[in-house]
């Protein structure tokens, strides 16, 4: 053998050994670090300019979520199925200018909670006195989430409660009482729903409803006659619940126009959110589905919807779509969609996506999206549920909070192996819950930490989860952001399954500037849902939209919050109302809430 050949073979061996070691090393890094809390806060304030301090007791919130009851036939995998129901929505139900908080509970007989903001840093649960507490009565199903909007344009936000049961509509009477107006409203009799949003799909000034089905509506999960209720596949399941598009006909009446508008999919919907992605003035609908691809319904001028997930690029790879949130991460004036999924190291790598629309769609009638999740470094979170963008340090760039963790039961146990036995198998095996191995108290993607990603201003994010708040590993579900104490800082509220929520007070002593907008429609729907606000300052341009339901089982405060960094001036703000009107305000006042009425 020639020496050249020998040398080549030695090099090959060195490369081989190098590759073996090189591939193994990245997976050996330590994921968790814990620190002294006081020092951590000091460091966080110094380095990042803010600290999220959980303070349930201090603010008077003693709510604790309890999981829904299920038929005993599902006993073997009850924790797996009863793993949702913790939700949070922010609403100023009494129009006092301070955000209030609504939490859903899910166990039969448990009480939902409406925490009124007392303006002194504390909250008081008034759910019972206004008639929104005892909503998990036997036979009515289990609460899964709540969304608020003024469906009758009377100036007060009303409540849609969605359940694994009959959705319920509550009319807000002057911010003092709520009346159940479900009967005769046209709402469906039973939906096993984990998502709903208010949006005005036809821009007629009356907000309409989208309710997503998860389990098929054929089943009452507390009274089953069959165990064949599970998804038929882990990537291609179409045996979930049907969705509902309900047109607001006025006078508290809703009409089921689902079929007429082409929203007939029966995938396992977990979240939805609406915004106008193609610039035609009508809100399009992004639907996140578990066990299948996501869907993007392009609104054809309020007359019907066309599903264009594949054409737009967001619906080609089936994943576990868990939530939808919106954020303009690079101040490009383009609203991107963050869609959470599931990642468990070594077992399932789906990665969360950030879909950014491309400015020019060419000849296509549909917008094109590219996934920047990995490039931005916001892809790998864990078993994710809710997520929200918001400028946590008011530096002018939107940061990201992601809720993680599926089932935290016995420590150092994992149901993943048992799970994989049925999930890789034939549909006839998967879809029957009785074939699923008994969980026996095992965890599955449990004890995960929520992610907090700080926007670096260059399309990249830094993972500061270990730095800006104490380590907590609840099974988090819903996330909402709101300026709870009118301080100009976004606080974070997290609903945790079978546990207490977390009220993170945003401690932010720094002098970054901010501006907030509260929009009121006149021709458009009263809550101005669907309005797009474009803020221009210091050479930057950030867009946000008014939504009524965003993330997973959550709703942010109605007002929009923008951080401005050190800039002490906003050039102008442009508001695109659903009615088609535009409002431009030059140099709006900063460091305050601007209330803008549609003219």
């Amino acid at each position: 053998m020639s020496w050249q050949k020998k040398l080549a073979q030695v090099i090959v061996i060195i490369i081989f050994v190098g590759l073996l070691i090189g591939t193994a090393l990245p997976s050996r890094k330590k994921i968790f670090q814990n620190r002294d809390e006081a020092k951590q806060k000091e460091l966080s304030l110094e380095k990042y300019g803010f600290y999220l301090q959980p303070d349930n007791k201090g603010v008077g919130i003693d709510f604790k979520h309890s999981s829904p009851d299920l038929d005993s036939k599902l006993k073997n995998i009850a924790p797996q199925i009863a793993s949702m129901g913790a939700s949070v929505s922010i609403v100023d139900f009494d129009n006092d200018g301070w955000s209030d908080i609504y939490f859903t509970d899910s166990k039969t007989g448990s009480m939902n909670a409406l925490y009124r903001n007392m303006h002194d840093g504390k909250f008081e649960n008034v759910a019972n006195e206004v008639g929104l507490a005892n909503l998990n009565k036997k036979g009515t199903g289990a609460s899964m989430g709540a969304v608020w909007a003024d469906y009758d344009n009377d100036g007060y936000k009303d409540l849609l409660l969605y359940k694994w049961g009959q959705p319920e509509l509550y009319h807000n009477i002057g911010g003092k009482k709520f009346e159940n107006v479900t009967t005769g409203s046209g709402l469906p009799a039973w939906v096993n729903s984990n998502s709903a949003i208010w949006f005005d799909f036809n821009n007629d000034g009356l907000v309409d409803l989208f309710i997503g089905g998860y389990f098929s509506e054929k089943y009452d999960l507390q009274n089953l006659t069959t165990t064949k209720i599970m998804p038929e596949s882990f990537r291609y399941a179409n045996n979930g619940g049907r969705n509902y598009l309900l047109e607001n006909m006025g006078s508290g009446k809703f009409k089921d126009v689902t079929e007429q508008y082409g929203l007939t999919s029966t995938k396992w919907t977990l979240a939805a959110a609406a915004s106008d992605f193609n610039g035609d003035g009508y809100p399009d609908l992004f639907v996140a589905n578990d066990y299948n691809v996501n869907e993007l319904y392009i609104n054809k001028k309020g007359e019907n919807f066309t599903e264009a997930g594949s054409q737009t690029g967001i619906g080609n790879i089936p994943k576990s779509g868990m939530s939808v949130s919106f954020g303009d991460i690079d101040n490009s004036g383009l609203l991107g969609v963050y869609n959470t999924t599931i990642t468990e190291n070594g077992i399932l790598i789906q990665d969360n996506n950030y879909w950014q629309p491309q400015g020019d769609a060419g000849d296509s009638p549909y917008p094109k999206f590219v996934n920047l999740g990995q490039l931005a470094g916001i892809n790998n979170a864990g078993w994710s549920y809710g997520s929200q963008f918001g400028d946590l340090n008011n530096d002018g760039y939107m940061d990201l909070y992601v809720a993680n963790g599926f089932i935290s039961a016995k420590e150092n146990t994992s149901y993943w192996y048992d799970y994989s036995k049925v999930t890789g198998g034939n549909s006839s095996i998967i879809e029957d819950a009785k074939n699923w191995p008994d969980m026996k108290g095992k965890s599955q993607s449990g004890y995960e930490q929520n992610k907090i990603w700080l926007n670096q201003g260059n399309r990249e994010f830094e993972d500061v989860s270990n730095e800006v708040c104490p380590l907590v590993t609840y099974d988090s579900r819903a996330v909402a952001m709101a300026d709870l104490w009118n301080t100009g800082a976004l606080d974070v509220i997290v609903a945790n399954q079978n546990n207490i929520p977390l009220i993170y007070k945003n401690d932010q002593p720094d002098s970054n500037h901010w501006i907030e907008f509260d929009l009121q429609g006149t021709v458009s729907n009263a809550d101005a849902i669907g309005s797009k606000v474009v803020l221009e300052w210091d050479g930057k341009k950030q867009v946000q939209v008014v939504t009524a339901g965003l993330g997973f089982a959550s709703q942010n405060e109605h007002r929009l919050h923008f951080g401005l960094g050190k800039s002490n001036k906003v050039d102008n703000v442009t508001i695109h109302w659903p009615s088609g009107k535009n409002t431009v305000v030059k140099n709006p006042e900063i460091d305050k809430l601007n209330i803008i009425k549609e003219k």
Binding site: K5, R235, N345, G424
Partner: protein, 277 residues
């Protein structure tokens, strides 16, 4: 051209690559099994290029690329990653193992079994397996099984596949008794795509299986037994790890025993067919 190098294997050398391509197409057209065609293409290209380079370095000649093609396609189907590099590296490692990890001139590990097992075990932050990502209906399943069985029969490896499947089913029943889960739950993985690749391609690989029929049956039963133990210890990728552990030991013993009887076989002249992955 490497694709048309002179071979005594006849047309049958193209059947396994054709079958695995068909399996991929059925999977993709029925269920969209691939996250992206790009990943499979990259895996195949990486495997083929590595084979071309190493065959020149080690043997100074072109080799048929059908086994590299099968290795590449297996990697593209069996691993999951959001990055492209794991597909490239897994393919490269698979082919390299064939040239480097040898005894008496014969490689010990099934190439893609080596690459896939290594990455699944050692790089869990970057790589996952196919285990829960292929929905299945009975028609697609029946077609794949019928074709697979026909081909292993033609390749005279029917006994290997059947011995393994029977062992798996019996041991699945025993596991169901031990862990208390239903028999269907325990046997369920066999209906998934990971096992279809495993039983039709990996365990039947002539290049790394032992020389006698009886020996091959014993080896796959041992593979099934090791997998049984690994499964009781909750290893999701138990079949790959079992073959990774048992296959080379069996091959080593087999080579050692037959060393006195025959000179080390020439890499390309034996076997007369190839299902090698």
């Amino acid at each position: 051209m490497p694709w048309i190098t002179k071979s005594t294997k006849g047309y049958f050398q193209y059947v396994p690559p054709a079958f695995i391509t068909l399996l991929l197409l059925i999977g993709q057209l029925s269920f969209g099994v691939l996250d992206s065609y790009l990943y499979v293409v990259v895996s195949i290209v990486a495997a083929v290029l590595t084979e071309i380079i190493l065959s020149r370095i080690y043997f100074g000649k072109w080799k048929s690329l059908s086994s590299a093609y099968i290795s590449g396609i297996s990697v593209g189907i069996l691993i999951r990653s959001v990055s492209i590099w794991p597909y490239i590296i897994t393919s490269v490692l698979s082919i390299m193992s064939k040239y480097i990890l040898k005894y008496n001139g014969r490689h010990l590990w099934n190439p893609s079994n080596f690459g896939v097992s290594w990455m699944l075990f050692m790089a869990p932050l970057d790589v996952a397996g196919l285990s829960i990502q292929w929905g299945s209906n009975f028609l697609g399943l029946a077609v794949i099984w019928a074709l697979g069985l026909a081909i292993v029969y033609r390749a005279k490896r029917f006994h290997v596949t059947i011995a393994y499947v029977i062992s798996f089913i019996i041991l699945a029943y025993v596991r169901s008794l031990i862990v208390g889960d239903t028999f269907l739950a325990e046997v369920s993985p066999l209906t998934g795509p990971m096992y279809q690749l495993f039983i039709f391609f990996m365990i039947t690989d002539p290049g790394t299986s032992v020389s006698t029929r009886k020996g091959r049956i014993i080896v796959v039963i041992i593979v099934a037994l090791v997998e049984f133990v690994l499964r009781l210890n909750s290893f999701i990728y138990a079949p790959f790890y079992a073959l990774f552990l048992v296959g080379p030991v069996a091959k080593y013993i087999d080579l050692k025993r037959s060393a006195k009887k025959a000179a080390v076989a020439d890499y390309n002249s034996k076997p007369t067919y190839s299902l090698q992955t």
